[in-house]
């Protein structure tokens, strides 16, 4: 029995919309709180259920039963609309993510993506930028000066970091010659190379900009608990607050998914063309994809528990003075490498070796300098006088 592709599309949409919020609420939030707890030398929530696995349920009950407050002088309609605007674009963007290679169920070949748009990457950038409207409008409509400041910060941040993010992805487009995410993964399979290797700099810039765009530490200036009393969502409670929360975490998932698809070979196993690692192919592609995404979510959590928040001028300086020039230079280098070497892959391979060589040498030099500086510092300390 063959079912129409439309039917499968409906199934996939429903699955995505149902599972992603559940994963956010039950897995990511709990993982974040427990991992952050461990990193801060404490245990984190472990009371609800064994090892705290039901914490998500408790949070859900709390958020849903809370009173839903709208401030008296708030712009009611916009105040209501803002959380929706934060969530819907994030969930929509999931449509173009390829979670795995096509799967056979009965006689049907089912691709594990809702839609393979030929401008997928552009669509993603466009749709995810809409999410910031939720934050700006939420901040403005609350009629609270801290919220407004949070919203404005978010707008400025997004404008500054959308540029390096786009430029970083441009250098990948030079390698993949396609905007379709499925095609990008296929290209990585064909070149025998994850685009992370020739695109190390691009990846770094993309991920930093991604962290900034999702308003996560160390770039969480829009909510900044200690300065703005959690900024744009000060006046939100209950389900509306939960929506903002969901939007932020779904945006995190999307940034991770795009990073995996574009730089880490999507559903491909690590080094698919090395004979010794063929046995990794036993694990289905979708599992590889989810594992990689999990790695990125872990990096997000790791960053959050490690780095202190940037000052706003530092944030702007990092974006405009460092990331944008570096990403432009990176595009130049990648373009030249592709032009100079014949064929599609030689240039990329050379680029990979050159980048990794330079980085290893630089890192070792810096490490050596650190060691020497430490030795000099210790030598400068007067020795204790023996009695």
């Amino acid at each position: 029995m063959t079912l129409s592709p439309l039917f499968w599309t409906y199934v996939k949409v429903v699955l995505l919309v149902a599972t992603v919020p559940a994963i956010v609420g039950f897995v990511i939030v709990l993982a974040e709180r427990r991992i952050m707890g461990f990193m801060q030398a404490r245990l984190g929530p472990n009371r609800v259920g064994p090892q705290g696995v039901l914490q998500g349920l408790a949070d859900l009950v709390k958020l849903v039963t809370k009173e839903d407050i709208t401030p008296a002088k708030a712009e009611k309609a916009v105040h209501f609309l803002a959380p929706v605007l934060a969530v819907i674009p994030a969930l929509t963007a999931l449509a173009v993510i390829p979670f795995g290679p096509p799967v056979r169920i009965g006689k049907n070949m089912i691709p594990l993506w809702v839609a393979d748009i030929n401008i997928g990457l552009l669509f993603l950038l466009a749709i995810t930028s809409i999410g910031v409207y939720g934050i700006i409008l939420g901040g403005w409509s609350s009629n609270n000066k801290y919220s407004l400041l949070g919203g404005l910060r978010s707008a400025a941040q997004l404008v500054s970091y959308e540029v390096p993010m786009g430029l970083a992805l441009v250098s990948v487009l030079l390698m993949s010659r396609s905007l379709s995410l499925v095609e990008i993964v296929r290209r990585q399979e064909a070149t025998h190379l994850w685009f992370f290797f020739p695109g190390m700099i691009a990846f770094f810039i993309y991920f930093v900009a991604g962290v900034a765009e999702t308003n996560r530490n160390p770039f969480d200036l829009p909510e900044a608990e200690s300065e703005l009393v959690s900024g744009f969502n000060t006046e939100y409670s209950g389900v509306k607050f939960a929506f903002f929360f969901l939007g932020e975490y779904t945006a995190m998932i999307i940034i991770s998914c795009v990073a995996v698809t574009v730089f880490f070979g999507g559903w491909l196993q690590p080094f698919p063309h090395v004979k010794a690692l063929q046995f990794l192919g036993l694990v289905p592609g979708a599992v590889w994809f989810l594992l990689k995404v999990g790695g990125f979510i872990f990096a997000y959590i790791w960053f959050r528990s490690t780095f202190p928040r940037y000052r706003f001028d530092q944030l702007m300086a990092l974006g405009w003075k460092w990331l944008i020039p570096i990403s432009l230079a990176n595009i130049l280098v990648v373009a030249f490498a592709i032009l100079l070497f014949p064929g599609r892959t030689t240039g990329l391979v050379w680029l990979s070796w050159a980048f990794s060589g330079v980085f290893v040498v630089m890192y070792l030099l810096a490490k050596l300098r650190q060691k020497l500086a430490k030795r000099d510092r210790l030598a400068a300390v007067p020795q204790t006088v023996e009695s």
């Binding site: 461990f38 030398a41 245990l43 790791w302 490690t306 780095f307 630089m362 890192y363 030099l365």
Partner: protein, 160 residues
């Protein structure tokens, strides 16, 4: 000099150092004591709930006099014992615990050896639902601490 600074900046050395610190802590053993299941045993000098030994007490009221906020109430009267001598008998020995600041001055003032009133009972679970009933100790409550789970026997601290 400037080159060295750039080298550090571009290789993100400090950021990696920070990440390695938090990464190491992820796997370290945690020292958290999970309270209702595990309990911390206080040190020997920890000042907890009062205890009174009525037989050792000589009813001198020095503890009540020494108390800075006068929350120890002692009444006594004389009675003839079998030998025909006057003996002080307690009518009342109350401590208004809800105002107590656990300064231990009453214990220091006590002239008996060992002390007849002391705070080093290693008790700290003193939360109560009503202040006036639970935190007002009469003679019965003060002497009835032997059954309490956390109470350890009194250790005499020798003072030179």
């Amino acid at each position: 000099m400037a080159l060295k600074k750039w080298l550090d900046k571009l290789t993100l050395l400090d950021l990696f150092d920070g990440l390695s610190v938090t990464g190491r802590h992820l796997f370290k053993k945690k020292v958290t004591i999970e309270y209702p299941e595990q309990k911390k045993l206080p040190s020997d000098r920890f000042r907890g709930m009062f205890r009174l030994d009525e037989e050792r007490c000589i009813k001198c009221t020095l503890c009540a006099i020494e108390c800075p906020i006068n929350i120890i109430y002692i009444d006594w009267h004389n009675e003839k014992n079998e030998a025909g001598k006057n003996e002080k008998v307690l009518d009342r020995f109350d401590v208004d615990l809800k105002r107590c600041m656990f300064c231990q001055l009453c214990e220091e003032a006590c002239p008996t050896v060992p002390k007849s009133i002391w705070l080093t009972t290693k008790t700290y679970e003193m939360a109560a639902y009503d202040r006036n009933e639970s935190l007002y100790l009469d003679i019965r409550k003060l002497t009835d601490w032997r059954e309490a789970p956390n109470v350890k026997p009194f250790t005499v601290v020798e003072r030179g």
